[in-house]
């Protein structure tokens, strides 16, 4: 396959960027999208040009590093698929492909297609954890959990923190990410002690990081490579409203452990 790429190039966080055009030639339809970029980069390096910087790690759809906007869709045209798992057979020979970094105030561009997603880490730090005794793991089934609750928690826990929800949202909202974490822990008995405090703290941090609010456009759910449902956002709102009304377990926490 021969393709034309239009790629956002930006030398550094403070540098001005621009779209630049490249040719990608002799691409196999069986290559992944990132392998296609590898081929283009080898050509650039051979010519003494700066290769296109993009994030990646696992290349098997589980680490969440490889996000980019491909032809106007987060992670490209294939549903439930990260950019690293997207194959070139999803494109047609001769096509022009537009590739851009995630765009959000909270995700500043570091270089080319690489953005800084540490805002997500700070949201997790604000409350995305449980207070569990350390030591050896408890016996399986020592804490009975209804199957449907376990399923809900598992579905929400599938979030890999890639940022596609923010990237695809017209408001650049991190609601789906934050809601997935709140729903995941809130569905389980282990998550109950901090449930109210978690909702308040994670939502507050999400706002502090300059993400937009949720308008329920639904674009995040479509972009999510793990298919996380906007039903989690309903849960986040419920937990937040309950916590605001009752202020339950908020005071104990401010004292520290």
């Amino acid at each position: 396959m021969n393709l034309t790429l239009r790629v956002w190039r930006q030398a550094g966080p403070a540098a001005a960027g621009a779209m630049r055009e490249y040719r990608a030639e002799g691409i196999s339809p069986d290559m992944s999208f990132l392998e296609m970029l590898d081929v283009v980069n080898e050509g650039l390096i051979a010519k003494g040009d700066e290769p296109i910087a993009f994030d990646h790690d696992c290349r098997e759809g589980i680490c969440g590093m490889c996000g980019m906007m491909i032809n106007g869709a987060a992670h490209g045209p294939q549903r439930l698929t990260t950019a690293c798992q997207l194959h070139m057979r999803s494109f047609s020979d001769g096509e022009t492909i537009t590739i851009e970094p995630w765009r959000a105030t909270a995700f500043p561009v570091l270089k080319d297609l690489v953005v800084d997603r540490s805002a997500f880490d700070r949201i997790i730090q604000a409350g995305g954890f449980i207070s569990a005794p350390t030591g050896s793991a408890v016996d399986g089934n020592a804490i009975p959990i209804p199957k449907l609750d376990a399923d809900d928690a598992m579905d929400a826990a599938a979030c890999i923190g890639c940022g596609a929800c923010v990237a695809a949202c017209p408001n650049a909202s991190a609601s789906l990410f934050t809601a997935a974490k709140i729903s995941h822990l809130g569905s389980l008995p282990q998550g109950q002690p901090e449930r109210s405090r978690r909702a308040l703290a994670m939502v507050a941090q999400m706002d502090l990081e300059s993400f937009g609010g949720c308008s329920l456009f639904g674009e995040c759910m479509e972009a999510c490579p793990k298919g996380i449902s906007i039903d989690t956002i309903n849960t986040m709102h419920r937990d937040f409203l309950f916590a605001s009304a009752t202020k339950r377990d908020v005071k104990e926490w401010s004292g520290g452990a």
Partner: protein, 216 residues
């Protein structure tokens, strides 16, 4: 309370609650308006009931609606500013994948509705912008008001946008309030569709029937 209002989730819940109050109002208002088709005496009587007999109740409703709309607009404005600030550098290309047209029309549609609400009050409540207003003749006011093509078109345009606003809003408000039940075919989607059709259609019957000469 302050930290609740400062939160994007709190603001959205406030929009959902105030929106729901106004949805309730437009349902009742539309149903009340249908008395127009019973005839002049019934409709004028209804107007007299609201403007004189039950005036205290009318004022309570007016104040509640005013407060609800004020909160609704303030939150809408602030959330829109927040969303703009959250992505100052846009994409060269971002295609809407699944969002409904209704969801994307909430902001400009809301502005149209605001202009409409102000005009509507000056038109039929105070009569300021009405060519031949007579407080005691609600029925006549409607017939004369809608005999202008432009006025009727403006009302019908507002009803089209109200339909879009209600389609997204009636569904969304339950989720903003955390009241939705997870489902692949949510009940609130179907309710929203019915509300979005019935309310604007019921309102639109008045200008349409006057324009088409069915009611004189």
């Amino acid at each position: 309370m302050l930290s609740f209002w400062q939160s994007s989730v709190g603001k959205k819940a406030a929009m959902g609650l105030t929106g729901l109050i106004v949805v309730g109002f437009v349902l009742v208002h539309m149903a009340g308006n249908l008395q127009f088709f019973v005839g002049p005496s019934k409709f004028n009587e209804y107007s007299h009931l609201l403007r004189h007999t039950l005036i205290e109740l009318t004022w309570i409703v007016r104040l509640v609606l005013l407060a609800a709309i004020a909160v609704h607009i303030t939150a809408a404005w602030q959330l829109t500013q927040r969303a703009k600030a959250a992505r100052p550098v846009g994409y060269e290309r971002r295609d809407a994948q699944v969002s409904t047209y209704a969801s994307r029309a909430m902001r400009w549609g809301g502005v149209y509705l605001l202009v409409f609400i102000v005009y509507h009050i000056l038109h039929f409540t105070t009569g300021t912008l009405h060519p031949a207003y007579d407080e005691a003749q609600a029925y006549g006011n409607v017939v004369i008001g809608f005999s202008s093509l432009w006025v009727s078109l403006f009302y019908l345009g507002a009803m089209a946008l109200l339909s879009l606003h209600l389609y997204h809003g009636t569904w969304a408000c339950l989720r903003s309030l955390g009241l939705a039940k997870p489902s692949s075919n949510p009940l609130e989607r179907r309710i929203a569709l019915i509300v979005a059709i019935v309310v604007p259609a019921g309102f639109s019957l008045l200008p349409l029937s006057v324009l088409l000469g069915i009611v004189r």
